[in-house]
């Protein structure tokens, strides 16, 4: 992308920090919700071919639980909170206090609880990002799907689709204790939003 012609490394660092701040707050919110520690890995920021984005969560056909919402306001984009089925079950158990999602069948209550978790996490991610940048950013009502990762994520790539065959992804992995990859937070700002993000943060380009 043209935007990264100058100061590419610095810009990627800034975006990594964007992920850090947003997901850091979301991790804190999740930790409060579950009443146990939740860690996160250092965010990765990559311009990835469409094909490779689903690889991050187990491949195009891997069944995942995804909460998707649009970011509206000054720097629009797409946001996904993606959890695999096993961690989702644990989260629900912790939250609802009974054996959840047996046989991978989710009740209305369980889906609604997961959706609300996504809502809270996305809200804390975005509000910290809005504070940090001074930009207006608000989430739409979240929507949940349990389906193939490729089918879900392609929805977040449409804005990039008209520009080329890659998308810029800010990916933060959640860890619960020593366990790997509880979930992923994907922020995919629309191509037009990068300039606004960089301007707001005083990054020269």
């Amino acid at each position: 992308m043209n935007l990264f012609r100058n100061n590419a490394d610095f810009k990627l660092d800034v975006l990594r920090e964007v992920g850090n701040i947003g997901a850091g707050n979301a991790a804190t919110a999740l930790s409060t919700l579950l009443n146990k520690p939740v860690d996160m890995a250092v965010p990765t920021v990559n311009l990835l071919p469409f094909e490779e984005i689903a690889e991050r969560v187990g491949g195009s056909e891997a069944v995942v639980i995804a909460i998707f919402l649009r970011v509206e306001g000054d720097a629009p984009g797409n946001m996904f909170f993606i959890i695999n089925r096993e961690p989702a079950r644990r989260i629900l158990q912790g939250l609802l206090g009974f054996n959840a999602a047996e046989n991978d069948e989710y009740s209305e209550l369980e889906l609604s609880a997961l959706n609300e978790i996504g809502n809270i996490l996305a809200g804390s991610y975005l509000s910290s990002l809005a504070d940090f940048t001074g930009l207006r950013m608000s989430p739409t009502v979240p929507s949940l799907a349990v389906d193939m990762a490729g089918a879900i994520l392609s929805y977040g790539l449409l804005q990039f689709g008209t520009m080329g065959d890659d998308a810029l992804l800010i990916d933060t992995t959640f860890l619960e204790g020593q366990q790997e990859a509880e979930g992923h937070f994907f922020l995919i700002p629309d191509p037009e939003s990068f300039e606004k993000l960089f301007r707001a943060l005083g990054v020269p380009f």
Partner: protein, 164 residues
């Protein structure tokens, strides 16, 4: 290409197969998996279409496999160059789902149905018969085309395997 060889078609990609090879594309959401098949030559093609029209393209180097209005002509040309005849071609397609339900419904949110409409329009333009489809809904699909038989398999998480 030998019997059973699997040819993967990526997102915004297209390819053709013959000699019993199988074309496969995974994780179709709002994208459309279109296949064309010439039963006489037993040759088939598949496109994983992401967007309805190249009019909205702002990319430098246009990826013609990505848009319905450019992918269909390209797929037809590729098949014709292998000897397929347009009047024999039959089309099957799947995908074009609306993965997430939203209030209001901005244009991008309706992208699945728009992809389906645009693909059908292109097929009409070439007078290619659409014999079956499994489009719409709110779920993802993985599809395969068997180039020997023209059988089109659709897999989904909620609905298992379906043959059209």
């Amino acid at each position: 290409m030998t019997e059973g060889t699997l040819i993967k078609v990526g997102m915004a990609d297209l390819n053709i197969a013959e000699g019993g090879a199988v074309l496969k594309t995974t994780g179709l959401g709002s994208c459309v998996g279109l296949t064309l098949f010439d039963p006489d030559l037993r040759i088939g093609g598949m496109a994983h279409i992401m967007l309805p029209s190249s009019d909205i393209a702002r990319e430098g180097q246009l990826n013609i496999a990505k848009y319905a209005d450019t992918a269909v002509p390209e797929l037809v040309n590729r098949l014709r160059s292998r000897g397929a005849a347009i009047h024999r071609l039959i089309a099957k397609m799947a995908g074009g789902a609306q993965m997430f339900a939203f209030m209001g419904g901005a244009d991008t949110m309706r992208i699945g149905p728009r992809n389906v409409e645009a693909t059908k329009l292109e097929l009409e333009r070439f007078s290619i018969r659409l014999v079956s489809e499994d489009t719409g809904g709110n779920y993802g699909r993985t599809v395969e085309l068997y180039s020997h038989t023209g059988i089109f398999l659709i897999r989904s998480v909620q609905h298992g395997v379906k043959e059209i």
